[in-house]
Symmetry: D2
Subunit: 346 residues, 4 copies
């Protein structure tokens, strides 16, 4: 029952995070790690957190080699690069979990408006958006899972119960999100330097961030109607974590305790969603290193708004952990395998 | 032209910040520093940033001594404690800049609803809300200035141009604010420990923070009508800085460049407000240690909202720096004296 | 083969760290958690990292209850408090791993000189110093293990190979150590506030830190002669991690590659010591959350000194992880159970 | 009495730090800022801390232009680049403060051993090592000042009193230094990324850092004999600050109070050295943004060693602030002009 797993794009932060977690997976054998840089080096030399755990070396991407070595492939590439690699892997019968944005948007036009020309639109219809809390059954049968973006994961899980229950005015949704610096990846840029980020805080991509249409697509599915949101990302001077504060006008007065219960009920059977007791709110520090999404909800009678706060580790539930959760579902494994680590606090 | 200055409550973070800045003020002689704790110790022993700069010791609060020693008094006490001390100082003819919340709200009922019973309501009418950008002329003649709260300073300066020009729907204002840890003061609490704050991020006081009525009072003044806002504070794992992201529905379409110009114009003569060029947004790192408020504004045609981002150093423009700016206006000094330091970046 | 485990003093950082790791231990059932504070509260409310993982509540310390509920007890109390609790637990037949300093020093006189009067000297002879790399066989048979201090663990593992091989002049040993803020525990003190620690760095306890005699005792064992060291701790503005830089004069010239090989050989069979390749040095970020001690050694021909750099997570190999490693050895479990987590980087 | 000042290499962290401080200098007019990158951009756009303070744009380096525009030039270039630029500036009669290493070492052979071939050895004899506390009179008459390295400044000021008084065994000097990340400059490298530095700590350049011969040269001057030291730099996850912990064997027993007094006496008239009261030790947080060097000394009777702890802001006393102090001395200004800012704590 061991599956051979390859990671295409193992040299970045989502790559090393897949490695950290898959080390603990009882049914996975890592067989092939590709990278653009540091080819030939032991991955434990590139990431000195890994000695004694993984003996593999980084390899140049060779699709034949990946196909021969693996049953399941995680593609952890930038968008555009991913859509070049995924089709031959699927054609060779592999199951693919793609961590890029390339197969997340159902509408090619929307994709091309926010990203660039899509070179493989024929695969889009079969790609399943891999948010297990909403699409678990479709993930189970998928060959290709489009692993959700980090911000969308935090925003969608926060708003889904309100929308499903028809409680909010869909024209009033504002999502104010804050992400740790791993969200920008491991590429070497002035704006990612320690001294440029440390003790700072800023907004970016206001009104124009590419995760916006992804959020709107899923919220629209839930609502059965188009949803347009304000989404504002910010850069936190921490390594890991996203906290999203989402606002929406309630259609009618609903108390905080009632909202809290409704969230508890909505996520009752979910292994990786934790709803805070009424009156308490999440903190990114309490999910660090884990696959949990923590949620807290407040009803504000003065303004008639619901405010939902959601916290995830952007590298885990926001990327690699959720990808493993999807793999588990696709492969018929127990959904929490490889994801058993407890949040690292303090 | 030297004024003798006392600080009542010099042992906290706003106290030491007053000291840091007043050291550089050419017309101020510090004469008396009171504190509840570490009485008798040189202030440079309590704050080892200060040796070679200030030779004074901390004293127990003795009103006669303060009255005798000073022309101007900064009261940097918690609310409730402040309203016991301010009246005798005024009665003795001192000018007072009060950094607490006790004299900020014009409506005693509102104060008592959000704080506690007010023991000195008779002084409220003459207290001037010390936001020079809006109330400079009234500050000039004041005996008692109520120095604004840190969050309100950042939110009001962000929204004032939009409201004054009647551009936004007043029922749609949402202010999502994030503050560094000095905002919680120097009192010793579990939640303020390094290991509880570091690498964390959370919301608190959602729908219930005491700075809400202060924001609403001033925005209401600007609008000439009641304004109710959603205000959500968050705790950033940095020492200094507030960044507020404010959202409001535009009544009609206005482009980003036009909004940017309008902000430039609104604050043209203000020494301590810097409006970013269109397309750029502030970062708390760029105001650290200084009295600047940096502002950036975006118009989002997809949602019809204006988004304004404002950044201040919560200890300077959000507290002690603004208090000195008010003192300069009250005393007839050049408004920027003592506030000439350039932001410390990186 | 399940052992029932109690934690006496579960409300601090070493307590929550035991919980984080023991959650993953296949042969442990947590049965009883005591604390001085927040008694009655679910431990997952006190530490919001733990919901969905541990359902226990914190209890007042009741020795009869602890005895009835457990086979093995971790005492995570301050020194002095520990030596009051350990004797009755041993008398009741429990195995005890004590994380305090109370049973680490063999010489009562030395203990009383650096700490205070010892109230239970009769147990000292049988206590085993729980550093498995040096005392594994003695740990195996122990009823009472004195779990090493965090600084001593990092310093002893760094110097042991040099001393065992007689390579250094014992009068020249200097250990310059730097620890993250969790080392100060969770007690509420001004010096532990975020704003007092953040962006700062300082030495403390120079020439007088209580871990000095502990280091000297073990190095003396290794040398077969008295060893006096200079030990200087510093406070790092991070949550977790100790890095120690140790200096000693080499008795004769030995090259860096040779030293590196000698370290590799010395720790060849150790599951939790990783010696860096020659020319590389450890970083606390690469052991975070794990039980590893990473070591790097340099030979400096200009000065004739060896410099050894060692990195641990102070809460894991420096406290709770090592305690679990000791428990595993005492209980006959595989030594790495509960300690399988991979370091969390980034 | 205004001097026109140019900065060659204004785009880095020492460049922006010169700007921050020179803004406040009453006798300086900034006239010309050169940079390799972002030429043509207002410096306030490159460093958004500077709007409202400096209107200049960054220019390509054009020596004729620099010569025409300035009386005094700060060269803030990497070593090697500096020695190409300094000679023509001197030839044109400018006073030059060079922040690189190119003119710090008196012995060309030593320079070439640690750096590279020296292309301008004829200027080395007249260059003055700009540590005012030791060489003030020579600085006064200099045309060319070699501004000291950051680590050497912290180490030399710590050890000078002990060596001048002949108190220590010169063969036992160990300097364990820790620096904030601005020490690595603003160049874009993987190892300087936020996520690679944050929550980490490591040593680097052990036994081989280029500041070693600089330290040894000045300590040798003080001793009147060759001095060989162990010097180990470490990278702190903070933006600013160096703390050095220096160890040396005392030739005879000297108490801590006596050492402390001796330090007080040694630096009695120095405006920028602050010796802590006996029993207290410095913290980098207490010098942040200022030109102070804080010193604390301990005598350890157990080991017969003196331990000196020194703290500076690496960008101020370790670079740009000291450069301005040197300029003031060279130009006959009051030594503290432009350096009056109080440390920013918290």
């Amino acid at each position: 029952m061991i599956r051979r797993v390859a990671i295409v794009g193992a040299g970045g932060y989502t790559g090393v995070e897949l490695l950290r977690l898959l080390c603990l997976h009882p049914h996975v054998e890592l067989t092939c790690l590709t990278s653009l840089e540091e080819v030939g080096a032991p991955v434990s030399r590139v990431f000195p957190s890994l000695p004694k755990r993984i003996a593999l070396k980084l390899e140049t991407l060779d699709l034949d080699r990946v196909v021969a070595a693996s049953d399941i492939v995680f593609t952890a590439l930038p968008h555009k690069a991913a859509m070049a690699v995924v089709p031959p892997l699927l054609a060779a019968g592999k199951k693919v979990i793609d961590l890029s944005a390339d197969f997340r948007l159902r509408d090619v036009g929307v994709y091309e408006q926010w990203y660039q020309r899509h070179t493989c639109p024929e695969l889009i219809p079969e790609a399943v958006y891999g948010l297990p809390e909403l699409y678990r059954e479709r993930v189970r049968g998928a060959r290709l899972v489009a692993n959700p973006g980090c911000y969308p994961t935090s925003a969608i899980l926060a708003l889904a119960p309100l929308i499903r229950h028809g409680l909010i005015d869909l024209e009033t949704v504002i999502i104010d999100s804050k992400s740790g610096a791993t969200g920008a990846g491991r590429s070497v840029r002035l704006g990612s330097l320690f001294c440029e980020v440390n003790e700072g805080f800023k907004a970016y991509g206001v009104g124009s961030h590419r995760h916006t249409p992804e959020i709107e697509q899923v919220l629209g599915d839930l609502a059965g109607a188009a949803v347009i949101v304000s989404f504002t990302p910010h850069l936190l001077p921490i390594s890991r974590g996203i906290l999203s504060t989402s606002y929406a006008k309630l259609k009618k007065a609903v108390g905080g305790a009632e909202l809290s219960e409704l969230f508890q009920e909505f996520y009752r059977d979910e292994p990786f969603v934790r709803v805070c007791p009424a009156g308490e709110l999440p903190n990114v520090a309490m999910v660090k290193g884990s696959n949990y999404c923590d949620l807290g909800v407040v009803s504000d009678p003065r303004t008639g708004r619901a405010i939902v706060v959601s916290a995830i580790d952007n590298l885990v539930k926001g990327a690699s952990g959720q990808a493993i959760q999807n793999m588990n579902i696709m492969a018929g494994f127990e959904e929490g395998l490889g994801l058993q680590v407890v949040p690292l606090f303090p």
